[in-house]
């Protein structure tokens, strides 16, 4: 038996619930779907065109580079030989200077014994063992691994980020 405070049953509010929106809600259209499809198609078409033009440009540039190298091959070969002969001459001068006080030493030989007997006056290029004798080991390693070097030989954007002693460990 309920005595004291009066119990109140939960009932809908007076006048009933207010009307709620049961219709489908659409997002706010910034651009129409047709515009989006047209933009994507346009970007794709321009991308394909740019790729083809870029390929042609690369081929043309490569062709020009090869043509320039072919035209300059005699000069490049001559300059390479001059460069190489300069190095050999400097190496010989350095050897003469260094081994001046060694008794019995003759420049270009092993204490008077030639490296190759049967060549006579013909020239035989020395190997890396003899050429890099006046250099530190990193020079020989650098030359040996030069194919992994970037073709760009100028200053790089990260040259100021690292100290000088670290620059020989990366190119």
């Amino acid at each position: 038996m309920a005595t004291g405070a009066e119990f109140r049953q939960d009932m809908p509010p007076k006048g009933g619930y207010r009307a709620f929106n049961f219709h489908r809600t659409f997002p706010k259209l910034v651009w129409s779907p047709g515009t989006v499809v047209a933009a994507i198609f346009g970007a794709t078409a321009y991308g394909v065109y740019a790729a083809l033009e870029g390929k042609k440009k690369d081929i043309t540039e490569k062709f020009e580079d090869v043509d320039i190298n072919n035209a300059m091959e005699p000069f490049l070969t001559a300059e390479r030989d001059r460069y190489w002969l300069k190095l050999l001459a400097k190496n010989r001068a350095l050897e003469e200077e260094i081994m001046k006080d060694v008794p019995g030493w003759k420049t270009g030989t092993w204490y008077g014994e030639p490296v190759y007997f049967t060549l006579g006056d013909k020239w035989w290029d020395p190997t890396a063992t003899e050429v890099f004798v006046h250099s530190r080991g990193s020079n020989e390693t650098r030359d040996h691994l030069w194919r992994q070097h970037s073709e760009y030989a100028g200053p790089k954007f990260y040259d100021n980020w690292f100290p000088q002693w670290m620059s020989k460990w990366f190119w």
Partner: protein, 121 residues
């Protein structure tokens, strides 16, 4: 081998046991042809063919030593070690500032051309 056609070095060079044209063709990878020492190898074997196996041991000694020198680089290594040792000695005595020359072969300066006698390209 019993044929007596062995080279002066003992088992340091491979050669086919059966001598036939097909083995000559197939034994090219066992030789130095197409490599840096191919010139000295041809020179040596031409001399051995001229003098024969027995007389070649005596008269082809220089060619043989040149071939061995090219393959092993013995005198070149000894020369390099002697020069480096002398450089270190002079550096320790205070006669030179550094035991090496800075940036001495610049990149791209080392360009050997060992096939100028028989250019292959």
């Amino acid at each position: 081998m019993a044929t007596g056609n062995r080279n002066p070095e003992n088992f340091t060079s491979l050669s086919p046991i059966v001598k036939a044209p097909i083995t000559d063709t197939l034994s090219v990878p066992l030789s130095q042809q197409g490599r840096i020492c191919g010139f000295f190898e041809s020179q040596f074997y031409r001399c051995m063919e001229a003098y024969g196996a027995k007389m070649g041991r005596k008269y082809c000694d220089l060619e043989h030593r040149d071939f061995q020198e090219c393959v092993t680089g013995d005198k070149q290594k000894k020369r390099a070690d002697a020069i480096r040792e002398q450089r270190c000695k002079l550096f320790l005595d205070g006669k030179i500032a550094k035991p090496y020359v800075d940036n001495h072969p610049e990149p791209g300066q080392f360009k050997t051309d060992h096939f100028q006698w028989n250019r292959i390209n």
